[in-house]
Amino acid sequence: MNRQEFATKGAIRIEHVDKVYHAREGEVQAVADCSLDIRPGEICMIVGPSGCGKTTLLNAIAGFHDITGGAIYLDGEMLCGPDRPKADPGPDRVVVFQNGALFPWKTNLENVAFGPVVQGKMNRKEAAEKARGMMADAGLAGVEHNYPGEVSSGMRRRVEIVRALMNDPKVLLLDEPFRALDQLTKSVMHEALLEIYYKNKVTIFFITHDLEEAIFLGHRVAIMTTRPCKPKKILEVDIPHPRNYSVLTSARFRELMEETVSAVHEEAVKAFEAGEKEM
């Protein structure tokens, strides 16, 4: 399946973005002159060592933080730029958080139905109905009335992704969503994510520091330099979608791994030597 077959929306254009923090030790340049074009409907993997500034980039797109230079556009519309340093968070760009952010006091179904209800797009009943359908599609039938704390971490992740997709977003922003999962659950989640992706035509901006994950999932992998953060190398992953786990043992996959490993390693060493704290 080809990205271009269904891609209609969700192009992110990051143009010369700068972000300077004012920390105790002075100014910290987290992102510098970062430009990246994310094509509509692609899975773009952002790879870099911990603390390289990639989450800063995500926070700027999501509208959690301002930027100090440059601009970010979504489908040609400026999210943030010179006149408006901080974007407004909104349901066209939904974030799935590193440690999960399902509301523990709402059932899984209430979590999934939350978006359309608070936006006033649907009443509770309609939202619950749609949520039930989407959860069933994602293999989550049966846990609707459980609280997030009652189901496995892998399920929680799936619920959170479905909660995001309920809003029919243009872009999914994933911030190392599978970091806390064990390797086996992770592999299950990768296939689950791809399956969800094949059904929902959405751009995915996926932050990770796991190279295997990046190449397995992504159409492209952007390897970032460590602070300040900007693309160092952009790799086209020419393994056709739909993919499954057998890809991991293919010769092409190994080649791509080799091609990227050294680039990433270099940055990791730089980050380690700088002793940067994760932001």
Partner: protein, 292 residues
Amino acid sequence: MANARLSTSAGEIGAWDMLMYRLSKWIKSPTPYLMLVGFALFFGAWFLLSEVFKVWRFASLPGPRAVLVEWFNPNPVYGMSLYTPDFYVHIWSSMRRVLYAFLISTALGVPFGLFLGWSRSFREYTFPVFEMLRPIPVLAWVPLAIVMFKGQESPVIFLTTLASFYATALNTMLGVQSIDESYPRAAACLGASKWQIFRHIIVPGALPFIFTGLQISVGVAWFSLVAAEMVSGEYGLGYLILASYVNVQYVVIIIGMISVGIVGYVSSALVRLAGDYMMQWRVRELALGGGR
């Protein structure tokens, strides 16, 4: 809020079922027996020290046997036992005051604490004043309370409310501050307005701390009662204790003290129960974790 459901679900556990479940689990656990042993040790030690061996300094203290005999005496020596209507009037007066004080301190303290945690500028205006007033003991407020409030009940309720209010407000504020930053962010992503975030995230997110605060608050209310009831002329367990002190009736003092203890214990258990009812998600998580 936590109990605002989208639909009635098959998996919903009623509060009563939950209570019965917890009770049956509790009976099977070592907890109740350890509790009995604890009480037995406490009363046994008191008995031995004061009545059997009459250890120095304890000898002049009424022992548990003397207290029990008086408490269950249809014709009490000092006029106060389970058989005298006055005893219940004292308990009822105190319970009513604590209830009012608790309701007022909750109605004021929870919203105040929520805004303290939610709004930085509100906190910067009010928190220093709050922190300055907080350490002032209830006793110091007694004269002012009499001047400020008319009648017999209102100064007592004011004094009992004070300390409860601090406990509730402070814990609520900490509750808001304890909420993981990613929850309000996630809600904003999903299109929630500021007010919706307050209602759906801040309030339920702070709930565990709020109920910790309420449990402390109800305990503190009983605590302040003795001081508050110094003001009151006629009834109340605090008043009973004080009056018995003046009349040198030590047995009655201990009856009053134990009564405060029991009623206080029950009231904080009720608050805990209300908390469980409102935070089913938490109860179920804990039940899974094997906790109690």
